[in-house]
């Protein structure tokens, strides 16, 4: 315990250095702006703003990224409330009651409660994370290569089968990602795999290029669909952005209830902030004495999902930081940022680089406080960005995506790969294949193969090693269940409808 506090103190000392405070504020503001753009969320924010951090050094870069991550989440709800257009999936629930509130002339209260709920949700779950991260990391250190491989398999299977359309599409996406990860020189045997004789492909396809291609280019392509829509009317003049005592009396308990729920769902791979916020909304609607008010501008209907959303985003960092296994597209992008800085997330991160691990956690606390300051009193100024037509902002996003990709390794061939992945991302969306399993595959593919091979070498080629320990058996069973569960659910539903 003392060690945790000690490390945390060091983390805080780093985080509150003036230069780092400046980075987190800057990252937060830029993240908020990107998050506000319809269709673009935290994943795009981090992907597009990564190049800013190339030369910053690990601490500064992580702190900036924490700011972007939080900022984009705040930004997403701004556009939900004011123009009824969620920035990303996690902000959908904020449109249900947030937009009606703004319509009723309570935009100020809506913006304020969304900021307050996000702040409380983020804060409490960061504290929960501080206390759970080390124990998860310690437990994970007991894993051998076989267990580690199975754990990654479970995370991938859960993310793939969470796909709403159908499980098969999720798995196709996962396989594409893993296949891409295999491209390049095999580090163990020195063999060139799937390089088609190309020298550029020998070093593999950089996951950052894939990330920027999918999340910057691909998302902008998707946005082209709605670009013709006329400008939406939006309130630009605001009174004091704050809530009344009555608002607070009604919201505090839902906020506190939704936070642990969001945190737990976020920590599970696959589920994430979108599901967490929708669940929190439905929960509160069920408990509420007057559920008919929900959807008509009830402040509880905005406070609860906002708290759950931020709590889930923090919870989602646990598997990524402690196990090195991201559970969502957004955390995969953040993990990409860590890898780019030469840091391998996982149980050893807490052992070997405690100052980085705890520095990141501390900067999340600091970032959350700063973002609350930026977003509540200054919300009126920031949301003016929404008045800038997206038609001007999308080319800028594209421009940033290009320069970011080029700056990874100063190579033009990466730019072609970027375009290819932008197009792939767009087509995948068109045939309803989700992109996050693919990104997870690209990110964990190499580690996964290494664990797989190590396990087989250690067991002299005996495949029984994958069911050789109690932990392994549990992981296998959990994987099978997570694959079969969605089909089982639809099967039961069909049976019910047939009977009825």
């Amino acid at each position: 315990m003392d060690v945790i506090l000690q490390n945390l103190m060091i983390g805080f000392q780093t985080a509150i250095e003036p230069i780092n405070l400046m980075w987190v504020t800057l990252g937060g503001i830029l993240g908020t702006i990107i998050g506000m753009l319809p269709g673009l969320g935290p994943a795009t924010g981090v992907a597009v703003l990564l190049p800013l951090t190339y030369k910053m050094g690990p601490t500064g870069a992580l702190i900036t990224m924490a700011g972007v991550y939080y900022g984009a989440m705040y930004g997403g709800s701004r556009s939900s409330i004011l123009i009824n257009t969620p920035g990303d999936g996690a902000a959908i629930a904020a449109t249900f009651d947030g937009y009606p509130m703004a319509m009723k002339g309570r935009a100020e209260a809506a913006l304020a409660i969304s900021g307050i709920a996000s702040f409380i949700g983020g804060m409490i779950s960061t504290i929960l994370m501080i206390f759970s991260a080390t124990s998860v990391a310690k437990f994970a250190l007991k894993f051998g290569p076989a267990e580690y491989f199975l754990l990654m398999l479970l995370a991938l299977a859960m993310t793939s089968s969470m796909n709403k359309g159908n499980v098969i599409r999720g798995f196709i996406s996962m396989f594409i990602g893993l296949m891409i990860a295999m491209i390049g020189l095999d580090p163990q045997s020195g063999l060139n795999r799937f390089t088609f004789g190309s020298l550029e492909l020998q070093s593999g396809i950089d996951f950052l290029t894939v990330i920027i291609g999918i999340y910057a280019l691909g998302e902008v392509f998707k946005c082209f669909r709605d670009i013709r829509e006329g400008k939406k009317k939006m309130q630009t003049k605001f009174g004091k952005i704050w809530i009344t005592k009555e608002d607070w009396r009604r919201s505090w308990l839902p906020i506190l209830r939704s936070t642990p729920l969001g945190f737990l769902i976020g920590a599970l791979p696959g589920a994430g902030a979108t599901i967490a916020s929708l669940m929190a909304y439905n929960n509160e609607k069920q408990i509420s004495k007057n559920p008919e008010e929900f959807g008509k501008g009830d402040i509880v209907g905005l406070a609860a999902p906002e708290a759950a959303n931020n709590a889930a985003s923090v919870g989602a960092l646990i598997p990524m930081l402690t196990l090195g296994i991201p559970g969502s597209g957004t955390t995969a992008v953040l993990m990409g940022a860590l890898l780019m800085l030469g840091l391998q997330p996982g149980p050893l991160l807490f052992q070997n680089n405690p100052q980085i691990a705890w520095g990141l956690i501390a900067s999340m606390v600091v970032g959350n406080i700063i973002l609350a300051f930026v977003n509540i009193p200054m919300a009126g100024a920031l949301v003016r960005v929404l008045a800038i037509p997206p038609k001007v902002l999308y080319p800028i996003i594209l421009g940033l995506a290009f320069i970011g990709t080029y700056a990874i390794s100063n190579s033009v061939s990466d730019l072609y790969i970027l375009i290819i992945f932008g197009v792939i991302g767009f087509f995948m969306e068109k045939v309803k294949i989700p992109s996050s399993p693919m990104l997870l595959g690209v990110i964990v593919g190499n580690t996964m193969e290494i664990s797989f091979r190590q396990a087989l070498v250690l067991s002299d080629g005996n495949w029984g090693v994958f069911v050789g320990s109690p932990i392994a058996v549990i992981l296998v069973i959990a994987t099978v269940i997570s694959i079969l569960l969605p089909s089982l659910k639809t099967f039961i539903k069909k049976k019910k409808t047939v009977e009825a």
């Binding site: 594409i176 999308y394 800028i396 290009f402 320069i403 700056a407 730019l415 072609y416 309803k432 797989f452």
Partner: protein, 155 residues
């Protein structure tokens, strides 16, 4: 045309090609000779299976609901995406030969004139110029990442 059916077919083909490519990889000279092949092979087989399942699923659907919307040529957003792809390709081609600033001005104006319209040419030009020059100096001075320079004048 049913895109979803096509997705299933393409996935199957990718899976099969990947499997064949994995099997025909040369043997490793260090350690177990077939070790680098096993994992990719599993991926190829998995992809093939998923592709076949998706094809069958979509194939069945097609017989049930045959009423698909008649596509009237390319939609506006598809045209816009093809345009963007061509512009970005040109951008990548010109990136090094004519330098960052010029190629970016060209790229940004090409995108802005298409998206934002010709009537707003003032905004378009201001945004293109300030973005290109701003980013160039941001990268050069603040981040000390050199970008391709213009020929002759070397900026």
């Amino acid at each position: 045309m049913n895109y979803n059916l096509l997705a299933g077919l393409i996935s199957t083909i990718i899976g099969i090609i990947y499997t064949i490519m994995s099997i025909t990889l040369p043997n490793a000279t260090i350690g177990n000779p077939i070790e680098p092949k096993i994992f990719p092979m599993l991926l190829g087989v998995g992809m093939t299976i998923c592709g076949i399942i998706l094809t069958i699923m979509e194939g069945r659907k097609k017989t049930v609901t045959k009423k698909t919307k008649n596509d009237q040529g390319l939609s506006h957003d598809t045209k816009l995406i093809i345009y963007t792809c061509i512009v970005t390709l040109a951008y990548a081609l010109l990136f090094e030969p004519i330098g960052y600033v010029l190629s970016t001005i060209a790229f940004m104006s090409a995108m802005l004139f298409a998206l934002n319209g010709k009537e707003k040419w003032k905004t378009n030009i201001i945004v293109s110029l300030s973005f290109s020059i701003g980013i160039y100096f941001l990268f050069l001075k603040l981040l000390s990442i050199p970008l391709p320079m213009m020929p002759f004048i070397q900026i």
